[in-house]
Symmetry: C2
Subunit: 288 residues, 2 copies
């Protein structure tokens, strides 16, 4: 099967008429800002040879959708650039796009384009475009001194599953945080609580104290919860007087600490300095 | 150097404040359609270990800009997802982004975000977002029977340079084709004239006859001109009575044939059937 035939199969699956040109043509709505995120998804780093093609497709898109959730956005379009190493590309592609488009349909996201080529190792790049009302995107830089720090769900879940877990993008929660709770800052937990909270504090030019019990996933260790990545829960801050419900659509929301003054990015854990030590591809060698 | 430090270097170079969040936040203009293109750029396929990092960066963006040119668009933002294999990532990254941002500045494109990780083989994905007035994008599907088929520049130039050539995206020409010549269809020549013209005809549900001398690049063979890829010139069609100038800003515009009825996608070359045989990653093994 050649490239034209493979692309024809993808077009059929995506029910998209957009894949035939050099670019996709999209119509953003007036009054909205456009959100754009790109995430690499590499064999040997983000999935393994044991990951089924369908799981890989779902996980690939989930990572991108999680970034849109973190900004309080509504996902609209996705693009997948795929360098394929499979010896049976037709079967693998079919299953990969099946996993991806099932999740896409669930969140009303259109597969609007992409690229397809061959390589020695399978590598994908997922691009998701979304929208928020103009000027309303949640960012990492808006936390203020005294803000309460929250996480959704349970921490260390992915680490405890040896990163086989397929995350659920917290889109409904992200929107709730933007519209109802007016969260001051938000990001998704992709690289581990310690590293991600460090980043949020750096952007907000403040420090953070973790001084409450963490919602640790069954089977996960404290280290998994503090440093384990890929949970794709939301980490957010709200003004101190904000009434945060205990759950949103069944998902637990747990205060874990407070934004403080101090050297930007500094973290303490029950009074002691906490060094950010999550996932860093330029330091770690662990395959995820 | 860790990921945070590497990202800090990129932010400094891009002079972008957009790289700190999970998504970039962009403001498309009302009355414009948004163009989106993604292109993989892989070591061993699109560049080699001999390609300098600076050339790789320039070529990577040039591919994306060429897609915007093909739609008659104005490029606005770019994103680069990069999986880096270099043993000296700081130096390589510096040079790669220097090559890329030099070209970006020339075309007033902002580096708005991306992703960065490590891998065994260097792989990049370039995403370019651009704009056209609503409903005015040039596509592959608008060619009509009797339209004249043109190409810009010289064919086979990349093949003759053993694909070391760094293409110049034809952005000014694309805009001219949309605004002044009202081209009926347009695409860029990335995979070779025969395969790309075949695709244009498929999308337009028509056939094509090449019956004029091709503008062949010095040093290139006829095969290079017909089947060689990566020239990144524009292939376009115009209504038969259109007055096409011989050059646009010094770039030659040459009629090579006519759109005809026939089985969609069929090509003839001076009266004989021409099989599309350009670059197909799922058939060819040639490294480019």
């Amino acid at each position: 099967m050649d490239e034209l035939a493979l692309v024809a199969r993808i077009r059929k699956r995506s029910r998209s008429r957009l894949l035939g040109d050099d670019c996709a043509v999209l119509s953003p709505k007036p009054g909205e800002d456009l959100l754009v995120t790109t995430d690499l998804f590499l064999e040997g780093t983000h999935f393994t040879k044991d990951t089924s093609a369908s799981e890989a497709g779902r996980k690939c898109l989930a990572r991108g959708l999680s970034d849109i959730a973190a900004m309080g956005g509504i996902p609209r379009w996705c693009f997948v650039s795929l360098a394929l190493a499979s010896k049976s590309p037709t079967r693998w592609l079919d299953d990969f796009y099946k996993g991806l488009t099932t999740l896409a349909k669930h969140h009303k996201v259109a597969l609007a384009g992409g690229d397809l080529t061959r390589a020695k190792t399978t590598a994908a790049d997922i691009i998701v475009l979304g929208a928020v009302p103009k000027g309303k995107a949640l960012t990492r830089s808006g936390a203020r001194r005294g803000d309460a720090i929250y996480v959704s769900g349970l921490l260390g879940r992915a680490a405890a599953s040896d990163y086989k877990d397929i995350p659920e993008p917290r889109l409904a929660l992200g929107r709730f945080l933007r519209e109802k709770l007016h969260a001051t800052a938000c990001m998704d937990l992709s690289d581990g609580l310690s590293l991600d909270l460090h980043r949020l504090c750096l952007e907000s030019k403040l420090a953070a104290s973790i001084h409450r019990l963490l919602p640790i996933s069954p089977g996960a260790s404290l280290l998994d919860a503090v440093h384990g990545g890929e949970d794709y829960e939301l980490l957010f801050t709200v003004a101190p007087d904000t009434k945060v419900p205990a759950t949103h659509q069944g998902l637990h929301l747990t205060q874990i600490g407070t934004i403080t003054t101090g050297r930007p990015g500094d973290l303490t854990f029950f009074g002691r300095p906490l060094k950010p030590a999550g996932w860093d591809p330029f330091r770690s060698t662990r395959a995820r």
